[in-house]
């Protein structure tokens, strides 16, 4: 089977830069930030994908009326997940070592909240999207503030200062779209009685803490 790597690479090098000038080297700290970000975003979107899969598995039987709305959110998560999978391969970031654990954990969380019923499933979405939305916002802030670079020519001379590469502009645009969609999911969840879940506080705070712990872990392992 032929791998799609040739397509990846063509896209990657034709990011609108002339052959003569290049963006200056990223610092070790900048590369480390991007490395962590892509790994944790990929793991997070994998988690979201599997949570919805778990919820859909249960709710499509017990609450067929919810199928269209669940399916819409799930499909967006699949797109988020695929996007970060491609980014992880293309930028040669190692995926989270704990990928098997995220798959099992997210499926379990999805099935469990699905079994608790519509309100619990929506409360789960609300909690997850609150944390993810905040996480994406933090990331966007760093991408906007810490990544201006120089445009250098082949002789290594600076031609223009304080610009941002198309590669990083693209990443920021992607994260912004995803953040907005996560916040839409959050609103959808609240509209569908997330606050009616019992015990609401315990459920959402536990899930939020779990997500924060998972983010911390996936950035590192």
């Amino acid at each position: 089977m032929m791998r799609p790597f040739k397509v990846f690479r063509r896209n990657f090098t034709s990011s609108g830069i002339s052959l003569q000038t290049k963006y200056s080297q990223l610092s070790e700290a900048q590369r480390a930030f991007l490395d962590r970000s892509i790994r944790v975003d990929q793991a997070g979107e994998l988690g979201a994908n599997y949570i919805y899969q778990g919820q859909y598995l249960v709710l499509s039987h017990t609450r067929p009326d919810l199928k269209p709305i669940m399916k819409h959110m799930w499909e967006q998560e699949i797109h988020h997940h695929n996007t970060f999978n491609n980014l992880q391969v293309r930028t040669r970031v190692r995926p989270s070592l704990l990928t098997p654990l995220w798959k099992v954990g997210a499926t379990a969380l999805g099935v469990a909240t699905g079994l608790l019923g519509k309100e619990a499933a929506m409360a789960c979405t609300e909690a997850v999207e609150t944390v993810i939305g905040g996480h994406y916002n933090d990331q966007l802030r760093v991408l906007a503030n810490q990544f201006p670079v120089d445009l250098v020519n082949e002789a290594g001379e600076v031609e223009k200062e304080g610009v941002q590469s198309t590669e990083l502009e693209d990443l920021k645009a992607t994260v912004k779209v995803f953040r907005d969609q996560e916040l839409e999911h959050l609103e959808t969840a609240v509209e569908h009685d997330a606050h009616g879940a019992r015990p609401y506080w315990l459920l959402t705070e536990t899930i939020k803490l779990t997500c924060k712990g998972a983010i911390w872990t996936a950035e590192r392992f």
Binding site: R31, L34, V89, P95, R220
Partner: protein
């Protein structure tokens, strides 16, 4: 430790990529020293001869930063030079490969043939990289090689298979180098065949591991133990 050995930072397409080998006097000397390795081996003698070649006074050596000692620095320079050779030739090397496995095999064989000139002294290199103080950087370099090879071959794995592939490849590569030490066949024909059979197993394992995703914690020390046992025997 596992995550640390895989310290592969984000690779940018739009930004200037840091090169594997930086351009300093120290690396010029190490490069010149490599040309002496076929005769004087992975030794400080090769470095002294290189200083002489470049008309540098022996005192220059004190300004060098050999973080793991001169011999290990020379060994690492050989390994990194070989990765640069792959970087420069990988497109031509995989030409005609039918799939990822075919490409990987061609790349690994190309890399093994890069040992030819230094092979009579390669046991010195292997003995150096397994010294306890050198193990961490040796493994980092080994995994950097596996990662490069996988990338050039077109690996696009997103999950645990990413680790399984690289670790099995590292293992197969180390075994192939040990085999190569004693290979007297024409053009290392036997080594190339040996590594083909090893990679064939990796190809099948990679798939199996992804299916069960139950690989458990892989002990990196098994590389070191393998090397130690083989070198003691040899």
């Amino acid at each position: 430790m596992l995550a640390n050995s895989f310290r592969r930072l984000y690779h940018s397409g739009a930004h200037v990529n840091p090169t594997i080998i930086t351009d300093t006097i120290q690396t010029k000397v190490l490069a010149a020293a490599l040309s002496h390795v076929p005769t004087t081996g992975f030794t400080e003698r090769s470095i002294d001869l290189a200083l002489n070649d470049l008309s540098l006074s022996p005192g220059v050596r004190s300004s060098f930063n050999f973080s793991h000692g001169p011999v290990m620095s020379l060994v690492l320079h050989h390994l990194k030079t070989q990765r640069v050779r792959l970087q420069q030739n990988h497109v031509a090397v995989i030409d005609g490969a039918k799939d990822e496995y075919g490409a990987l095999l061609k790349l690994v064989q190309f890399r093994l043939l890069g040992n030819e000139a230094v092979l009579p002294h390669y046991h010195e290199a292997l003995a150096t990289i397994i010294l306890p103080s050198n193990v961490a950087s040796s493994l980092e370099e080994l995994h950097a090689l596996s990662d490069d090879l996988s990338w050039y071959a077109g690996d696009a794995s997103n999950d645990f298979k990413w680790y399984a592939k690289r670790l099995s490849l590292s293992m197969a590569y180390v075994e192939a180098e040990l085999f190569q030490l004693g290979d007297k066949s024409e053009g290392f024909k036997d080594t190339l065949e040996f590594v083909a059979s090893k990679l064939d197993a990796v190809d099948k394992c990679g798939t199996a591991y992804n299916d069960v995703e139950e690989w458990g914690v892989f002990s990196l020390m098994s590389f070191v133990n393998l090397l130690k046992s083989q070198l003691v025997r040899g």
